[in-house]
Amino acid sequence: MAYSDKVVDHFNNPRNMGSFKKDEEGVGTGMVGAPECGDVMKLQIKVQNDMIVDAKFKTFGCGSAIASSSLATEWLKGKTIEEAQKIKNTDIVQELNLPPVKIHCSVLAEDAIKAALADYQKKADGPATDAK
């Protein structure tokens, strides 16, 4: 399979690879996929005043899955929560030139974004609903 130059670039030079501490303030973590399906993505955002100031990823998966999550972190940085909600998998497909068999990688990246945002929201709303 031939990869697009952008996929190769993200694979060779992944952006924002790494982790935040999950319990750090303002951090939302999304983990999607399953090892037996061959891909797991962990996407984290760091939010200050409703703005995503930093993002990190770790991915187990093929080159396209790694590129999709790397690209997602690039796009997330500097966006508001509301803007981040609007990132669609089709945008990722277009940007990375993903072939049909790799569309599921972009879907997974969108799911990871949604999961990270939801986790952040849950933590932000936390004290009211999750009193221990």
Binding site: M17, P35, E36, C37, G38, V40, T59, G61, V101
Partner: protein
């Protein structure tokens, strides 16, 4: 050392230059049709074909008349299985095979089963990928007409106890077909000693040209008969019509001759390189698992799963080394290797597998380079893997509720 490095010798072999040299006169100068009985052009071609037939037969300890030329091992498998079923279908239609066969066998028997022409027993293999001969014995019914078990597996290199299976087949009077595509030319094959009645193999897996293969069809004890699957001029004693590709056959013959002459030294050299590759990788990278039999496997084969990293990304990180993976992402079906699954390898480790296939033209320098690259990329991708991170934190990955998609 030249890049890229070819370490995918189970998929095909580069042709030996000595093979090409013997083929060349048969394209332009000696172009005759081997079936032309009335002139010198035909005689020259026929002589070349018969010489090649002898070289090929010698490598597998057969009689030259037992060699039927085909387009390759896939055709040979089809011809053997369908040809036997059509010839002996009145006696029964039960076929025994194994779950790690090549798709040329599995898809053929499944297609026959789907059409209601055969019933099929697909035997499980042990954790090394080996068929148990006693399982073969126990699967035999009075309707069984054919046992088809491969000599050596194309992914994990495991060598089956073919001789024992052949013995059982003989005892029960059932024909035994062996897909020996990966084995012929690489390990000693003796159709007499192994009790094989029909055997498929191919030239391009033994440093010969692509586009030609053979089916060995036993002539004595018993005399095996098959129904041709292609109608036409009745070539190859009526078993496979079609003008013989003389240059390819000449190359096939020479390639077999070279394998026979050089097998002992070549095997020793390949095992030494393969074992060094294996030991160096295993030593440097924790949680690397060998797939296949630890010792009883093809000299050039090494199949390893690297936990926490996905196979296709490994291949992508080693672009200048030609390798293969059992990862779903490299297959058209998006399913990980059925061979590794049959061994009981977990899906996640099947996704993480890499097959190294060493051959005649690989060098020590190439192996050094590969060792370095593999360690580099696995380390890099593990740093990138959330699974590796979790494992390091002590999370039991089996206990995690994954959202399968």
């Amino acid at each position: 050392m030249k890049l890229p490095i070819f370490l995918d010798n189970h998929s095909t072999n580069p042709m030996d230059p000595r093979v090409l040299e013997t083929m060349l006169p048969y394209f332009v100068e000696k172009f005759g049709n081997a079936a032309s009985r009335n002139h010198a052009f035909g005689w020259a071609a026929e002589e070349a074909v018969e010489n090649a037939r002898k070289q090929i037969a010698k490598l597998i300890k057969a009689d030259p008349k037992e060699i039927v030329f085909t387009s390759g091992a896939t055709e040979s498998d089809n011809l053997a299985i369908k040809g036997v079923l059509e010839m002996y279908g009145e006696k029964g239609t039960h076929i025994i095979t194994s779950s790690t066969e090549h798709r040329a066998v599995l898809d053929t028997v499944k297609a026959l089963e789907g059409k209601g022409k055969a019933t099929v027993t697909c035997l499980a293999v042990d954790k090394f990928g080996m068929v148990n001969p006693e399982d073969v014995r126990n699967a035999i019914t009075e309707k069984t007409i054919l046992i088809s078990v491969m000599l050596a597996n194309n992914e994990i290199g495991t060598i089956n106890p073919v001789k024992e299976i052949g013995k059982i087949a003989k005892e029960k009077g059932i024909l035994f077909h062996c897909d020996a595509t990966q084995g012929v030319g690489k390990i000693p094959v003796d159709v007499q000693e192994m009790g094989i009645d029909l055997m498929s193999f191919s030239a391009h897996k033994l440093y010969g040209p692509k586009g030609v293969g053979a089916l060995y069809v036993r002539k004595k004890n018993p005399r095996v008969r098959i129904v041709a699957q292609m109608d036409g001029g009745g070539h190859e004693r009526g078993m496979r019509s079609g003008t013989l590709p003389v240059p390819l056959i000449v190359g096939f013959g020479k390639a077999c001759e070279l394998c026979e002459q050089e097998m002992v030294q070549e095997t020793a050299r390949l095992i030494a390189m393969r074992d060094r590759l294996e030991a160096s990788i295993m030593k440097a990278l924790e949680e690397s698992y060998l797939n296949g039999h630890p010792t009883n496997r093809l000299p050039g084969n090494l199949n390893i799963s690297f936990a926490y990293v996905e196979g296709e990304s490994l291949l992508m990180g080693m672009k200048d080394i030609a390798l293969s993976s059992g990862s779903a992402c490299t297959s058209a079906t998006l399913e990980p290797s059925y061979v590794l699954r049959a061994l009981g390898v977990g899906t996640e480790l099947a996704h993480s597998s890499i097959r190294f296939g060493l051959g005649r033209f690989n060098t020590d320098d190439e192996i050094d380079y590969t060792i370095k690259k593999v360690i580099e990329i696995v380390t890099k991708l593990r740093e990138m893997s959330p699974l590796y991170e979790m494992a390091k934190e002590g999370v039991d990955l089996k206990s995690v509720q994954w959202a399968a998609h």
